[in-house]
Amino acid sequence: MSGFWQATMDLITSYGSLISLAGLAIFGVMAVNALVAVYFERKVSAFMQDRLGPMEVGIFGFKGGRKFWGGIGQTLADALKLLTKEDVLPDKSDKALMILSPFIIFVGAFVTFVGVPFSSYLLISRFDIGIFFILAMSSVGVVGIILAGWGSNNKWSLYGSLRSAAQIISYEIPAGLSILLVVITAGTLSIHGIVEWQAEHRWFIFHSPFAFIAFFIYFISGVAETNRTPFDIPEAESELVAGWMTEFSGFRWALFFLSEYANMLIISLLASVVFLGGWLSPMAMFDIFPESWMIMDGALWGMFWLLLKAIILIFVMMWFRWTFPRLRVDQLMYLCWKVLLPFSLVNLVAVSIWELLF
């Protein structure tokens, strides 16, 4: 018995530092992502609405320029505020669930990052089933949402969490089916395999008309899974106050926030990897550029291209949010089950036939 414990301890000490390093890296990515994305979103929304957005808070006296960089320290200050805030639990809530649920949601997003690549070399773990892992782990959060809504003992939270559960579970299906298209064509579940296929042939979005449609189905479903406008029904602020987050405050609320923006990044990264050629340079697609330019296809450039694609997709999500009104619950379900799902099923069959023919 002691031999077993000895072996386990050895394993932990040898891998422990490695694992904690990876964990810290993921946490760093999530935190930085949230800080940058929130600032970006506030500025983007401000310019879309003819405002300036945060303009006062700088970093160490640096106040930035007069428009975009003014208020650069705002999100940092907000994060500090959230960390130092009092942690309020309502009297009649289920305290165990309320304490547990933010961590479940956070862990869902956190673990997903294990499989998400930032370039062909920069990733935590290289799975053979990377896509499957990401799709599976990104749905863990919904358990936390249900617990959060139920534990809050608030009717608005309950509404929000039930809406959210229905929405996320429904939209997993078209998203999964669209990704399945890629898996069928590339013949692999590994992220590297899919990008290699795209390097050999072409970006998947240009593979066939069906793949083109599949990209949009996946992206719409992704926006719905992250609960953002026009699908922000679970937290619909004008209807449900703040949905399942109503009773949360301080750090536990910050974890929700962190996970929401992490999920945005995951969806965008996955869409870029699977449909938009991942870390491949867009210039490699065309023959018009001289060979010497292909140097932009290296390891660091790969990260640049992948993040650029992801940021563009994140910008589109923000664009959606500040332009569109919100759908109603039944319209949301209609869109999923009667529009996106049939289309993705037809897509699947059509791509299979396409693969047989060509």
Partner: protein, 379 residues
């Protein structure tokens, strides 16, 4: 309550009582709705009001007639010019005062500017209720320009106390007409932009067309007035039907809901009527600016106002509907009794009739489309 026999015996599902407000983002103030829901479907709505009650009518029995005007400002604080005018209209009819022509024109100009400002708030918050945030900020930005004009006019941005019995508090400032023209030129293309952003947005139409249909009979039976009534296809506008203040000289149409996107009297129609009314208001302002005569801005009235014995009821088309003032005078300088008919109060009362059976999100859309102001409902 519904019962279903399943594998494990009888499954019961109960209705849930939901308290919406008085602190809720989209009850437009301190309205409380007791909503009975079955899942997402709303089976019963009971509005509870009075959280902003401040004894307006009782206060008036202790105030001189001039002192009442600031209180009427605070009734409908989104369109306080209209409230002033409604009260002043009653007083002038009671005292049989003929105001100079210039006063009437000034009142028309500020009244229509106020109508645009009020409709901008109404449409913007309606969009906010549906979930569209950007139209709200755009509309508030343009309303700000009107408030700037009013600030230039009388120093106040929200509660003006500008329209007085027998005239207005001061004449138009030197550049007011030019600045108003500038605003009109700026605002005209802006309305088309709102249409592109919100009015003809597919999701917006999905959310509002065929939702909360108010048939004309129901609207009339509940005493609904203003754009909400016209949204149901009833052509009734006091500026046309019972013209006061020289509105009979102005050329404008009364837009009514025609069920363009769904059926007559749905939320989209009520929205669209307001959108068209802003265009009509622009037309009226343009005419008034062109024709405004010079002259006095105060009729010859005694310094202390003592109306003759008697009573009067007049009505006035505010941005929300018919505001009526019933004043009983016994010849002293304070009224014996003052009763105000609040348009938003009647408009709100219809919600339990038209919003039952819809979903929770629709109730918020319907409430937003009725455009209530709690300051006026509770008085």
């Amino acid at each position: 309550m519904t019962e279903q026999t399943g594998e494990h015996g009888i499954i019961k599902s109960e209705e849930m009582l939901l308290n919406m407000g008085p602190q809720h983002p989209s009850t437009h103030g301190v309205l409380r709705l007791k909503i009975t829901t079955d899942g997402e479907i709303v089976s019963k709505i009971e509005p509870v009001i009075g959280y902003l009650h401040r004894c307006f009518e009782k206060h008036c029995e202790h105030l001189t007639y001039e002192q009442i005007i600031p209180y009427t400002d605070r009734c409908d604080y989104i369109a306080s010019m209209h409230m002033d005018h409604a009260y002043v209209l009653a007083m002038e009819t009671l005292m049989k005062i003929e105001v100079p022509e210039r006063v009437s024109y000034i009142r028309i100009i500020v009244g229509e500017l106020q109508r645009i400002a009020s409709h901008l708030v109404a449409l913007g918050t309606f969009g906010l209720d549906i979930g569209a945030i950007t139209p709200f900020t755009w509309m508030i930005r343009d309303r700000e320009r009107i408030l700037d004009l009013f600030e230039y006019l009388c120093g106040a941005r929200l509660l003006y106390n500008y329209i007085w019995i027998g005239g207005v508090s001061h004449d138009l400032p030197a550049k007011f007409i030019d600045r108003t023209k500038e605003f009109i030129d700026y605002f005209k293309p802006q309305m088309d932009e709102f249409d592109q952003l919100l009015t003809f947005n597919k999701i917006f139409i999905e959310r509002t067309a065929d939702v909360g249909i108010m048939p004309p009979e129901v609207a009339i039976n509940y005493g609904v007035t203003g754009p909400s009534l016209r949204g149901s296809g009833v052509k009734w506008d006091l500026r046309k039907n019972e013209p006061y203040s020289l509105y009979d000289r102005m050329e404008f149409d009364v837009p009514v809901g025609d069920g363009r996107m769904g059926s007559v009297g749905d939320c989209w129609d009520r929205y669209w009527v307001r959108m068209l009314e802003m265009r009509e208001s622009v037309r009226i302002i343009e005419q008034a600016l062109k024709e405004i005569p010079s002259g006095d801005v105060k009729a010859a009235i005694p310094k202390r106002i003592r109306p003759p014995k008697g009573s009067i009821y007049t009505r006035f088309e505010t941005a929300r509907g018919e505001a009526g003032f019933y004043i009983i005078s016994n010849g002293k300088n304070i009224p014996t009794r003052l009763k105000m008919r609040s348009p938003a109060f009647c408009n709100l009362s219809v919600i339990s009739e038209i919003a039952e059976g819809w979903m929770l999100s629709d109730v918020i859309a319907i409430l937003g489309s009725l455009d209530i102001v709690l300051g006026e409902i509770d008085r």
